[in-house]
C-alpha cells in the first residue's frame, strides 16, 4: 500500500521544469498517437478531409496567381518573391497548426467541463490540450507551403550566402514558435473569456493571410501595428526582405533580420506566463 501509485521513477522528489517538459512531451506523444489511431478508425473520412484541406489552402495561392495574371507586380514585388513570402509563412503556420492547432477547442472544453478530466491526470495540462484532436490531415498545409517555397527558391535569382541559407529554416522555426505562442496565449485567454476562439482565429489565421502579401500593399500604420504589437512580422517580412536583398519597411536597421529567434523566445515566455495565469484563474474560479 505504501508504494501505491509510484511510478518506476521512484518517489516524488522535486518536480522541476526539466521534468515537466519531459513529462509534457511524453504525454503529448501518447495522446497524439491515440488521436492518430482514432482518425484511422475512419480511413475514408481521413483521406477525404486530407484532400479537402490541401485543396482549400491551395485556393489561397490560386487567388494570388489570378491577381498576377492581371498585374505584373504587387506593391513592387514579383510573383516568385510573393511565393517566397507565402511559402515561409505557409510552412511555419502549417507546423504550428499540426502541433497545437486544436487550442481553440479549449473554450468548449472549459464550457462543457471536460477540462476537469485532464486536470486529474499526472501530466501537464498544456501538453494534453495541445495534443487534443491531433490530426495528420494538417500535413496538407505544410505540403502546400513547402511546394510554394520550393517553387520560389527555384525561380528566384537570389544571391545565396551561407547566412541567407541558414535564414530560411530559422524563419520557419521562429515563425512557427511565434504562431505557437499566439495559439497558447489565445488558449489562456479562453480561460477568461470562454467564447474567445473567434478572437484568437482572427489573430492567427487573419495574421497569416496578412503576411502572405508584401508590406507596402498595406498602410504604414497597419504595418507598424503588426510589427510591434503582434511580432508576427518577424516570421516573414524582415528576414525575407534580407534574403531577397530588399529595403526594409520603416527604415529598420539591418540586424533586425537576425532577431526572430529572440523574438520567438520572448513570445513563448510571455505565452507561457499567460497560460499559467489563465490556468490559475480557471482553478480559482471554476467553470
Amino acid at each position: 500500500m505504501a508504494e501505491t501509485g509510484r511510478g518506476p521513477y521512484g518517489p516524488y522528489g522535486s518536480y522541476g521544469p526539466y521534468r515537466r517538459l519531459r513529462d509534457g512531451l511524453r504525454a503529448y506523444r501518447l495522446i497524439a498517437a491515440m488521436w492518430i489511431r482514432s482518425t484511422m478508425a475512419y480511413r475514408a473520412s481521413f483521406a477525404m478531409t486530407a484532400f479537402g484541406n490541401l485543396a482549400a489552402t491551395s485556393f489561397d495561392f490560386v487567388a494570388i496567381l489570378l491577381m498576377f495574371s492581371q498585374v505584373d507586380e504587387l506593391g513592387g514585388y514579383t510573383l516568385p518573391e510573393i511565393a517566397f513570402l507565402y511559402g515561409v509563412v505557409g510552412v511555419a503556420f502549417g507546423l504550428t497548426d499540426l502541433m497545437i492547432g486544436s487550442m481553440d477547442r479549449l473554450g468548449s472544453r472549459v464550457r462543457d467541463g471536460t477540462l476537469d478530466t485532464l486536470l486529474v491526470r499526472p501530466a501537464p495540462v498544456l501538453a494534453q490540450v495541445a495534443a487534443d484532436r491531433f490530426a495528420l490531415r494538417r500535413l496538407g498545409r505544410i505540403a502546400q507551403g513547402l511546394f510554394v517555397l520550393g517553387y520560389a527558391i527555384a525561380v528566384l535569382d537570389i544571391d545565396w550566402t551561407p547566412l541567407k541559407v541558414l535564414m530560411v529554416p530559422m524563419m520557419v522555426l521562429s515563425g512557427g514558435l511565434v504562431f505557437g505562442a499566439v495559439f497558447v496565449a489565445g488558449g489562456a485567454f479562453q480561460f477568461v473569456a470562454q467564447d474567445a476562439a473567434e478572437v484568437q482565429n482572427s489573430f492567427t489565421y487573419g495574421g497569416s493571410t496578412l503576411l502572405q502579401y508584401p508590406p507596402t500593399v498595406f498602410a504604414k500604420d497597419l504595418v507598424r501595428g503588426v510589427t510591434f504589437v503582434l511580432p508576427l512580422a518577424f516570421v516573414n517580412w524582415v528576414p525575407a526582405l534580407y534574403v531577397l536583398g530588399r529595403p526594409y519597411p520603416l527604415d529598420l536597421p539591418t540586424w533586425v533580420a537576425f532577431a526572430p529567434p529572440l523574438v520567438a523566445a520572448g513570445c513563448c515566455v510571455l505565452a507561457g506566463l499567460a497560460w499559467r495565469a489563465g490556468l490559475r484563474s480557471y482553478r480559482s474560479t471554476g467553470s
Partner: protein
Amino acid sequence: MGLNSTGTTGSTGSTGDISNTGYSGYSDGMDRHFIELDRVEKVFDVRKKTGFLRRERREVRAVDSISFTVARGEMVGYIGPNGAGKSTTIKMLTGILTPSGGRLRVAGIDPSRERTRLAHRIGVVFGQRTTLWWDLPLIDSYRLMHRMYRIPDARYRENLDRCVELLELADLLDVPVRQLSLGQRMRGDIAAALLHDPEVLYLDEPTIGLDVISKAKVREFLRDLNAERGTTVLLTTHDLQDIEQVCRRVMVIDHGRLVYDGPLAGLHEVGDSERTLVVDLERELPPIEAAPARVVKVEGPRQWLAFPASESAAPLVARIAAEYPLVDLSVREPDIEAVIATMYAEQAQYAKQTEFAKQTEFAKQTEYAEQAEYAEQADPARRPGEAEETVP
C-alpha cells in the same frame, strides 16, 4: 426512482453487512486523517451583465467553512441537492480547484499545489463525462493509462485482469467505446480509474442513468474493492440506495455547509423520513390497515402506504400479503431532497436546541419547509406505470 420488489430489504440490514467488511490495520494519524478538511471554503465571483460593458459582481459561497476527516479505507457518501457544493468539494479534493480559504490535505498532499503528484494516488470517475476514447476499442484507453501513469507491467496486468473479471469486461475490451451501453461504459470508466492502484477513489454520480442490474454491479464492485484493497471511496449521488448499499457514512451538504455527518440510519432518524409502499390489490378495497404504515393515497386497486424509513419493509409486506389479495408491490425510497427537506422542517421546530439552527437563517428553514411540502405533493406523481394509466 421507484425500484422493484427485489430491492425491498431494510436499510438497517444492509448497513450492518457493510460494517463487517471494514478495513482495519491502520492506526497512525496519517491514516485516520487520510482526507482532511479544515474550515475549507470556496468563494466564486459571479459577474452578471447588467448592461453594455456594465457588470455586477456578486460573491457566491459554494463551500462555506467545511471541516471533516475521512480515515483510510472508509466509504463515504456525499449527498445534497443540486448546487449544494458537492462537485466543488470534489474538485477541490482532486486538485482541480484551489480553495479560497482553509486547509485541505489528501494523503498528506495539498491537492491544488501538487496536482500532478496527487494524480498518481487518486482515481476519479465523472459519472457524466467519460474519459475513455470514443472511437477506439476499450483496451486502448487502458493501454494509454498504463503508459501515462507509468504503471509497472506486472501490476497493470494484475489490476486489469481483476477489473475485467469483476466488472465483466472481457467481451467488451475489443469493442469501440462508442458502441458500449451507458452501464458498460460506466464499468469501463471505473476500471480505467483503478488501473494505477489509487488509494482513494472519487465517484461523481456513478450510477446516474444506469439500469437496476448495472447499478447493482457497480455497487457490488465498490464494496469488494474496499474490502479487498482497502481503497477509500468517496461518492456523490442522488440515489439513497447507493449510500445504503455502499457507504457506512454519509455526509449531507447544503448551501455549502455540512449539515449532517454520520450513518445513514441516523439521517433517516434526524429527517424522520418515510418510505412509500405502493400496493396493487386484486380489486378496489377500503384503505389497508397495517400500523405503523398509513395509507396516504388510494386510486382504484392501487394504494400508497407511508411508513418510517428506519423500519424494515419485510414484516409490513408479509402482513399485507397475508391479509389482502396482493397482485404486485414496490417500495419507493425517499429521495435525498425530501429527506433533507424534512430534516430542515424538523430543525425549524427545535431551532433553539440544535446546533444547526444557529448556523441557519430562519428564511432558509421556511424555504425548506415549503420544499418539503412540495416534495410530498409531487411524490405520488412519480409512481411507475403512470403513463399506461393515463392512456384512455
